[in-house]
Structures are given as C-alpha cells and as structure tokens.
C-alpha cells in the first residue's frame, strides 16, 4: 500500500515513514507544495497524509486539486492548527479524516488503516492476526470463526492493537484512542481493560499476545 506524506517537517515525515514501513506501507515524502502537486498528479496513493501549512501553498489547495481531478485517494489531514475552521474546511473539501498534531504514531497508523479499508473494500474488510479475525464493518471479532464477545471498548482496543501489531503502544496512546484527550492523566484504569481483553482472548484458546513493556506500554505480538 502506498502512502504519500505531505509534510514540511522532515524529521516528522521520517518518523512516520519508519513507523509505517513496519506495517507493510510504502511511503513517499513531499515536503513542499510543488512536489506534492506533482506527485499527486502523477501517481495514485492509497492514502495521503496532508499537512495544511506548507511552504509554497496551502494543503487545502492540494486537496481541492485532487478532488477536482476526480482522484479519490484517501486523505488524512495532519495539522498543527487544531482549529475548527480548518477541520471543517478540510472535511467539506473531501478529506477522510483529521488528526491534530501532535499525534501518536499508533493512532496515525490506525486511522490510515481505517481510511484504506473504507476506500478499498467498502468497509467490509476482514483483518486477521493468526486465528483472530475482525470484521470492521460488522464490528465483531472472532477466534477460530467463533464470535468473541467483547465490549465496545474492548473491540476498539483489539482493533487498535492489531492495527499496530508488533509495536510498542504507550498507555496514553491507548487512553486517547479509546476515550479522547480528556481522560488522560492517571492511566491506571487502562490496566483493567487490558486484563479483561487478555482474559477473553486466552479463554477463546489464543496465546497471550498482549505483552506488557515495562514502564512504557503494551505490545501485541506473537
């Protein structure tokens, strides 16, 4: 899957590239307006990460151009301007999602995954990890084809883990993914949810995939 990162902050686009590489994405970088326009005109991407403030022009103009040319690449706006105007303008122009900076790479990865699923499979894709399968349209998870009874947050947690499989995810990334910004602070409550999910997976006959990485967070790995 091809992802274009339109972002003028080089070290940020490098980080994104490094993180996404491990998740079977091929990343290209455009760090200014002109390069971005050229690349979007020449190639098709599964998902475009779009920064709004770019040297040489606004990211929103690139989005406008794309949609005017009937290109339906998935677009995820990553902007430091957590401004409602930009968000609304972006989404009205046809962006698929909006993620304010700073973001967790795991969150970014999960959002890109969601956009690609929506674009390519009409939302009906099944994500697999060993014997676990997640139907993202029906929002159900199954192990060995037997439905796994999960609460809504447990389902979201599992999907988030599998989207970021074999990566260390920090507790704050998990908390913010599940409950938004407001609940960060003391993150001890996450432990309960992890424990419940782990128990349900193991009862269904799977191995203990959720590894605790001391002091940092968790890692979903086999």
């Amino acid at each position: 899957m091809k992802v274009l990162i339109i972002e003028d902050e080089k070290s940020l686009s490098e980080s994104i590239t490094t993180y996404l590489k491990g998740q079977d994405f091929i990343c290209e970088i455009a760090s200014d307006f002109k390069t971005a326009i050229e690349k979007t005109e020449l190639y098709d991407y599964d998902c475009i990460l779009l920064d709004i403030t770019l040297p040489g022009g606004s990211g929103l103009s690139i989005l406008k151009e794309l949609r005017a040319n009937n290109k339906m690449d998935g677009v995820l706006i990553i902007s430091a301007k957590n401004s409602i105007d930009d968000k609304v303008a972006g989404l009205t122009l046809g962006a698929d999602d909006y993620l304010p900076k700073p973001f967790h790479l795991s969150e970014l990865n999960a959002r890109i995954g969601a956009i690609i699923r929506r674009k390519q499979f009409g939302g009906s894709s099944i994500i697999r990890f060993n014997y676990i399968s997640i139907d993202t349209q029906a929002k159900v998870a199954a192990i060995h084809n037997a439905e796994l009874l999960l609460t809504r947050k447990e389902y979201e947690l599992l999907l988030f883990f599998i989207s970021n499989k074999r990566k260390v995810i920090s507790k704050s990334a998990i908390a913010e993914h599940l409950w938004g910004d407001e609940m960060s602070g003391n993150l001890d409550f996450i432990y309960t949810h992890i424990k419940n999910l782990r128990k349900k997976l193991m009862e269904a006959g799977e191995a203990d995939y959720i590894k605790t990485v001391y002091g940092m967070g968790y890692k979903f790995t086999d």
Partner: protein, 422 residues
Amino acid sequence: MKLLAKYNRANILATTIVFMIAGVCYYFIVHLVLIKQLDKDLLVEEQEIRDFIKVHNNLPDAADYKDQQVSFQKMAVVINRKFESVDILKEKDDEYRTMRRLIFPVNIAGVNYKVSVSKSQQEIEDLIQLIVSITLAMVILLLLVLFIINRFVLNKLWLPFNNTLTQLRQFNLLSKKKLELTYTGINEFMELNKAVTEMSSQVLKDYESLKSFTENASHEIQTPLAVINSKLELLMQSENFTEQQMNGVETIHDEIRRLSRLNQSLLLLTKIDNHQFRETEEVDLSKIIVKQLNNYEELIAARQITLTEHISKTPQILMNEILAGVLVTNLITNAIKHNIDHGTLEIVLQENRLSVSNTGNVLSCKPEELFERFKKDTHQTESLGLGLSIVKKICEQYDFVISYTFMDGVHTLSIRFSSNNV
C-alpha cells in the same frame, strides 16, 4: 447632561441677561428723553406765563386741565427754580398720578409768587410700560424660537454624530465588518468619523493579528512537540532498553503529551475569550450526556461507580455545539477522575439546570479557587487544572450560573442556564 441641554442653558441664560440689561438701559434712556421733552414743554409754559406777566403786569388765571395745571402762591421769599416729579392724588378717581412739575418764582409789583406748572407724566409711564412689555414679549418669543431651533434644527444637526455613535455601539470585532460612516459635510463630524474609521480598522487589524498570533504560536509549539513525540515513539520500539531507560522514555512521553494538552487547553480558553465560537444552535444536552456516558461507561464500571441519571426534561439550549460538548465532557470526566472507587456519580438535567455530583475526597484548595486556572487538587497531580476553568469560561460566555457545593462527601457542580438561552 446632554451637550445640547448644557449649551441651551448657557445660551438662554446669556440671552435673558442681555435682554434684561438692554431692557433696563432702554427704560432709563427712553425715560430720560421723554422727561427732557416734557421739561421743554414746561419751559414753553413758563415763557408764556412770563410773557403774560410782562404784558399785563398781572398773574394769568390758574388753570386745571386734564393734563396741565397752573397754580400761583404768594411767597415771603424768592424760591429756587426747579423741575420735579411728584405723585399727586387725584380726587376724581382716587388714585395717584405722576406729574412733572416746574416751579419758578415771579415778582409782580414787589410781591413774590411761586408759580408751579404741572403736566401729567402718565403718558410717559404708559409708554415705558409698553416698552417693557414689548421687551419682555420679545424675550419670551426669542426663548421660544431658540427652543424650537434646538428641538428641531439642532437635533437634526447632531444626527450624523448620533449615527456615528450608533454604528460604534454596533461595532463588533468578530463580524470583521468595517465601520461605514456616511458623509456629513460638517467638518467636525467628518473629522470625528475619519478618526473613528481609522481607529476601528486599526483595531480590526490588531485583533486579526493577535488572533493569528495565538493560532500561530500554538501551531509553532505543536510542531516540535509532534516531532519529539514521534521520535520517542520510535525509540520505544527498540528492544534493548534497560528498565531505567524505559522509565525515562515513558516519563518524557507523558510530559510531552501533557504539554501538548496544556497548549490546546490554553488555546481553547483564549478562543472562548475571543468569542471565536459564535455560531449557536439549539443543542440537546441530554443527547451529549448520554453519548459521553456511553463513552465512559466501562471506565465507570471498572471503578465500580454507581451511576444515576435523572434526565427529566431535555432542554434545548441555544449555544455553540462544540462548546456544549466540551462543557459536558469536562464535567463528566472531572466527576470520574476525582471520584473514589465504589463511589457514586449522579447527573441531573432539568429544564433550567444541569448538575453533576460525585463522591470524592475533601478539596485541598478553597472552593472559590476551584474555577481558577491551574488550581488543582493536590491528590491529582496529573490533572492540568484547566478543565473547570474552561467550564466556567463557557458558562460566562452564555450567562450561565455555575455553583459548587460539598456535602456529606459529595461534590456537586450545578449550572443554571440563563433564561434567554433556554
């Protein structure tokens, strides 16, 4: 006091005084002139009497006409010649008449006589009375005219000023609309309008630059934060950390997130302060509450908090939807964060008020400091201390009244909606 009233007061006072002085002067001058005229007539009479005596060597007959009397009196000594004004009682209608009298001595065959010739001064008095009346009438007429001029003409003259004032009152930074003042043709007002227009466009410009500065500052801070955050998350992926290093990375990561949330919260406060959330609509708070409670359902359950909802009415509140969301979310997360395990959380939504109660430890700060920025309970070091400031700021924006009570281990935050938003 209105400028007009002040001006009128001075104007009327000055006019009245001038007219009074003029009236008095007029009175004396006219009086003097007329008396002089009368005296001249009396002198003619004197001459006639002297001529008569010279010819006849005898006194003429004393005469008493309506407006002229001549009388003679024998005197032992020679009296001085003089003019005088006297009030004489008239027997006919029993009232005093002012008379002008000339007294002069004559000598007929060695006998001294005092001759007095009197003429009625009444006509003069009448004339002067008339003059005074006319003067008074003129003063009144002038005042009347001034009043009419003030009332109609001056009001019209001040119209451009009032227009400017109205426009200034309606001037709103957020509408970004420049003042459009009409051409008046009057120098003073044109200068005023020019100054006001220049000032308003300067204010608009400054406001815009301040707004973009706030946004840009936030932008500039978020970008390096995003870079640090992403680098740290990559660092986390490497597997050969010692425990101590891991702890360090996690701490840095948490603090970066905190800094970022702090930045966003401050930006939100600034934006609310700048009234940048102006679009209002009818918001159904009960829907937002239910949605947020759903979101935190498992958190509440995990801490075994008993949740009770009393949503009796679903008021439609006229406010910004985003702010309504922030308000409800902050109240609910606040009540969860500061709750105790096995505690309670109660939400009451009525037609005109919303209250959120939760069990919790006694506050370590004064209740009145609860809504201040960066005031936080010492038990909760991770908290930013901005959540309730934001809640309060939103309440202020819509004239909602927020109050806090603590009773039997239960903290209650109540918001009473203002009548014009329900």
